[in-house]
Amino acid sequence: MQEVVLAIAGSGGDGVITAGDFITKSAARKGLYAFMLKSYGPQIRGGESSARIRVSAEPIYSQGDYVDVLAVFSWKDFKRFTDEIEVRENAVVLYDDADKTPLEAVPIPPEKKARFVGVPFKRLASEELKVPLAKNMVLLGVLARLLNLPIDALKDSVMQKFGRKRPEAAEVNIKAIDLGARWVEENLPEGIPYRLEAEGGEPKLVMTGNDALAFGAIHAGVKFYSGYPITPASPILEFLARELPRFGGAVIQTEDELAAAAMAIGASWAGARAMTASSGPGISLKQEAIGLAAMAEIPLVVVNVQRTGPSTGIPSKTEQADLFQAIGGTHGDAPRVVLAPADVEDNFQVAVEAFYLAEKYQLPVYILSDQFVAERSETVDEAVLFARERAIARKLPSEAELGEEYARYKLTEDGVSPMAVPGMKGGQHYISGLEHNEKGWPSSSGTLHQVMSEKRARKLPLIAEEAGFVRIYGDGDAELAVLAWGSSKGAVREAVERARKQGMKVKAIVPQLLFPVPARALDEALKGVERALVVELSFTAQFYRYLRAFYDGLPKETYSYARAGGNPLRVDEVLAAIAEHYGKKVEA
């Protein structure tokens, strides 16, 4: 097999996520591709948790629709994830034989014809090692031997984590891995059908989307970050709190979301590259400040790690339903930019792009990430991270422009005016959220409001023309194009690949820049396309409706596949939608 999808379910103390992390890390060390999705119950400690890991010799873009091998520490905990974890027909299910639930009663339907294997994870850890907590490492040994995962890389990962600081923990864990592997040799010598046959390549990195975004922000020169804790955006705050001070930057955890946005605006006004992040509920609170950044033309990067809404929604689950808020939120005609990362490494690049655009055009730039693309771990190629270089700079006034006549909001062809920064002699001026003339003086003139609205809006067509913001995957002469954004890219890209293997001429078009619409690049991408299908995780099909309203180039036949978030898109549902609209039946 070239790839395997496995899932581990248990309770918080079972070390499920740790086990998943080790598998992902060891795959990366071996140069394989890996993709890990974590899922938790609402309890902070001791609740249910699951890790779903896909390992492959070839590049992968999604979580994998069906699980080949499932490991369950407790059936009670697994029950919570039946909505998310569906096993493949003939899957192998390893379960801790300490759980005496009769197999007829477990939540895996008989038609799946799963092969159940009871394994004494708990007993081996408690009796042989005297460390009951090591049962997750016993499981790792079992999985490594069964699936042909790189066992040496696995041990290297354990040594990397514990070796220096806690050598005794490293020793126990390595013993546990050996114990699990030996148990397979003694009890399952014939193995299972899901054996990974893959040669690795160059070692890869493993990171989460949130970490990639925060790293990208530091790479882009962020010097000030203010944020308020919120799921699933807090890891950005935590990463920056740890790393940004080492680069001379400051991180402030604010009293509320309003202060977080306001402080970042203040820091940017004073000349620092500044960012704030949150998720839907917090972004709702930041709206007023974002309008201020638009009106006063202050560069600002705002990250929204979308979660299921409205209101508190499902804090730990993904959705793409904050698009309308991003493009239309805050009152008035407020120019802004909306960018969206489509996978983990893209978070890094989008962070760089966000600072590039915010500083160049002096406006607020949203990064619309989401829980799926932010919290999952993925293998990343180091070279890809730094592939695109951007010169990030703010337009400052020249010596001649300073002095009595300095005009902060000077009317220019591109709408961008030289921005004097506090400390700059002769650049003193007054700014506000009030409508204003070129010098920043408040005005109630409707005529001036028209002129200044035009000035601020002049930036948008230029941003839409910036190159490199639309990705295309698939056939150049596609009959059908799938339009998707953000984390939907993964399932869409794989669905397009599978459709092509079935003889369909299709491609995926994934804009990284959502607002303003990169119309020319989309026109180019849609040239010759007969039908389009817009795919997204939004119950009201926000992306579809947005494109209908803001973009004139859609083919006459444009369809929507949209559903509520919570669970990420699956390749098979996208493939079915492609097949339906392509006009051909998919061969099973």
Partner: protein, 290 residues
């Protein structure tokens, strides 16, 4: 080249002033301009951040980097700016509605964080810009447009609140005494850390000229008493004078030096973080992902 001495005139701007004739804020504006001139703060090194309200128009009238922001948020905006550029002298200005109602959360946490800002609240005990509604400092019983039968609520006591929260410079001034107010502002700017200057700045339009008389009749200058501003308990007594003695304390109620500012804390955090690990290049962050 000989340095030209800056005078209050150098801090004036051409933007037309929109305040009503007799507004207390004129006195505050004059006091600020004289204070920064006395301290010879170059206009380009001066930041003035305000929120929304009549008094929040003040940055427009001062030759500096002025930012008339959004309602209730001048403290976080000024905090961010001060962190980004610690060399700036940062004044924060606003009214009682801005600071003690919609912005109270930031007032509380700014004191806790102790950024080196001078916060001048022009307290007129009314919402003036919106034409006369009750404010968080309007006295109980007063008739306003939104309390036609008299204000049923107790006013907030910003001096007591600031003292309780650990502010290290708390003063009260009167816009009718520019000379005295100027000194409070100068000392507030010189103070290392968060300085609160509550200024009784009457709104003649919605509260009448008698507001001036009230402060003149009931004002007690603390420097004329034996009040010791370093004595927290004594300061607490003074914050209650309006209630206990129907007196308005004017001057420095409380001041202690030596508490770490936000800038000190950030510098220490940076030092501690670097003691654990130093990167020569941003790209080295990649190591943690191997």
């Amino acid at each position: 080249m000989e340095k030209v001495k800056l005078t209050a005139k150098d801090y004036k701007t051409q933007i037309p002033i929109v305040w009503c004739p007799g507004c207390g804020d004129f006195g505050v504006l004059a006091a600020i301009q004289q204070a920064v001139a006395d301290l010879q703060i170059p206009p380009e090194k001066l930041g003035v951040v305000s929120g929304i309200g009549c008094s929040s128009r003040i940055p427009g009238y001062i030759n500096a980097y002025g930012f008339n922001s959004i309602h209730g948020r001048p403290l976080p905006i000024a905090t961010g700016a001060k962190v980004a550029n610690p060399e700036l002298t940062m004044l924060v200005a606003g009214g009682d509605g801005d600071g003690y109602s919609i912005g109270t959360n930031h007032f509380v946490h700014a004191i806790r964080r102790n950024p080196d800002l001078t916060y001048i609240v022009m307290d007129n005990r009314i919402y003036g810009l919106t034409k006369g509604q009750v404010s968080p400092t309007t006295p109980t019983g007063d008739v306003t447009k939104t309390t036609p039968s008299g204000n049923p609520e107790r006013p907030l006591n910003p001096l007591a609140l600031a003292l309780e929260l650990g502010a290290t410079y708390i003063a009260q001034g009167f816009s009718g005494n520019v000379k005295h107010l100027k000194e409070l502002i100068k000392k507030g700017i010189a103070h290392k850390g968060f300085a609160l200057i509550n200024v009784l700045s009457p709104c003649v339009t919605f509260r009448g000229k008698q507001e001036y008389d009230y402060v003149r009749d009931h004002g007690v200058y603390l420097e004329d008493t034996d009040h010791d501003p370093s004595d927290w308990n004594a300061a607490h007594e003074v914050t209650q004078w309006m209630l206990t003695k129907n007196q308005v304390p004017l001057g420095i109620l409380y001041q202690v030096e030596g508490r770490k500012t936000l800038a000190d804390e950030i510098a220490e955090v940076q030092e501690r973080a670097r003691a654990k690990k130093v990167y020569r290049d941003v790209r080295e962050l990649i190591e943690q992902f191997r």
